[in-house]
């Protein structure tokens, strides 16, 4: 029996990865977040390239372990998870489905493309309008630029009074 006859095709593997949740935001999968940069066979070894969201994000090593565990459970025993830094992860890679899932979970998805204005311009303009994921009101205020994880900021809805997380654009 040769490896090439038994190895599952890449589409199949991608659907399996769709089922691996992000450890910090379990409403979305690692595929939804765009963390998986590549899935390739290298001979009979599967190589999965992942990119960290933030340099110090403690979830990155957990994500690598979760991916490995999920694929081993599907019978893949020759696999390697590689970290890829460049190009750096951007919230633009979050899928449409991922954005909908974030909002349904109560996290406002990122609102602008990460290729937006440079920081010196950003500093001088009015803050972005972030809609409340619960009541959709745009009457919201930022409480802090940082939230429960590095990727989120804290907001409050001034209409329904619900505090919520906003997934920042990077």
């Amino acid at each position: 029996m040769t490896g090439s006859l038994t190895r599952p095709d890449l589409e199949q593997i991608r659907t399996w990865l769709e089922e691996v949740p992000d450890p910090e935001v379990p409403a979305v999968s690692v595929m939804d977040l765009g963390i998986i940069r590549d899935v390739q066979w290298s001979g009979d070894e599967l190589v999965v390239a992942i990119t960290p969201t933030y340099s110090g994000c403690p979830a990155t090593s957990v994500i690598a372990l979760d991916i490995e565990a999920a694929l081993r459970a599907r019978g893949l025993d020759r696999l390697r998870v590689e970290r890829r830094l460049s190009p750096p992860w951007t919230t633009d890679w979050i899928s449409e489905a991922g954005r909908r899932k974030l909002e349904a979970y109560g996290i406002a998805p990122p609102v602008e493309s990460a290729g937006g204005p440079s920081v010196f311009d950003r500093l001088l303009r009015k803050p972005l309008t972030i809609a409340c994921p619960r009541c959709k009101s745009e009457n919201t205020s930022r409480i802090s630029e940082f939230g429960s994880t590095p990727c989120k900021a804290q907001y409050r809805c001034d209409d329904c009074l619900e505090p919520f997380d906003y997934f920042k654009c990077i």
Partner: protein, 252 residues
């Protein structure tokens, strides 16, 4: 120094700035004026420690003596650290912490932006990653300068005092020595002096909006980049390195 040795020195500077400031910020954990600030300071610390790992792992690789980021962070003595004097200054009150952060963030942002164009692809890649994070650090620290400077009489007084106290540690950020010059010649790092004007521009416009006064240019403290530190670094290392020194190779 050989080319590899210069590059190693340069990477230590980048990594040690992130490490020491990240450690300082982590000292606030559980002590901040509000829960949101506790989270924010810890998040910024986390970003900086993440960047430290990238810089120091690369430094260790260049050095080629089997040292990784952990060994470089935990097993060097104060004289071997290459961070700026600014980042080792004590946290003081919240205004002092935010003033230190703003001075550093603005410089860090400008430096990383230049380094994204480095001829060394590994450096450009780490800089591009870090720049996204530092953009948020800068937005937040600037907000605090405005809020405290243009706040109550007490918050204004404390922020002004913090800026006056820290100003003499900012000159070192823009001075090039032979390591910086060698990196500049090879297209790896920028001319640090070229960061001064944009940095000063942001300081001026922010101070004006915050009703603060920037100190006059004066004598600058220097030495951090060459391993000549203030007494504070020893205390930081005593805390940071205790576990690995007391229980070598401990893991969890």
């Amino acid at each position: 120094m050989s080319g590899q040795e210069v590059l190693f020195e340069y990477l230590l500077r980048l990594g040690d700035n992130a490490l020491i400031l990240g450690h300082r910020l982590s000292e606030w954990c559980g002590h901040s004026p509000a829960l949101e600030e506790d989270l924010a300071l810890s998040n910024v610390a986390l970003d900086l420690i993440g960047q430290t790992q990238l810089w120091l792992n690369l430094a260790g690789e260049i050095e080629g003596k089997g040292r990784d980021a952990d060994k470089l962070a935990y097993l060097r003595d104060a004289r071997d650290f290459r961070n700026l004097l600014l980042v080792e200054q004590p946290n003081g009150n919240f205004a002092a912490t935010m003033a230190r952060q703003f001075h550093f963030d603005a410089w860090h942002y400008l430096l990383l932006r230049e380094l994204t164009g480095s001829k060394d692809a590994r450096i450009a890649e780490i800089a591009a990653k870090g720049l996204k994070e530092v953009t948020y650090h800068l937005e937040r620290s600037r907000d605090w300068i405005l809020r405290l400077g243009d706040g109550t009489e007490e918050s204004h007084r404390r922020m002004q005092a913090a800026i006056d106290d820290l100003w003499m540690y900012t000159g070192e950020m823009f001075e090039s020595d032979e390591v910086d010059q060698a990196m500049m010649r090879e297209g790896i790092g920028p001319d640090l002096a070229s960061l001064h004007e944009p940095w000063l521009g942001l300081m001026r416009s922010t101070a004006e909006e915050a009703t603060l006064t920037l100190p006059q240019p004066g004598w600058a403290q220097r030495g951090g980049k060459r391993g000549m530190h203030s007494e504070h670094l020893g205390y930081i290392l005593a805390d940071l390195q205790f576990l690995q020194r007391a229980y070598p190779n401990a893991t969890w």
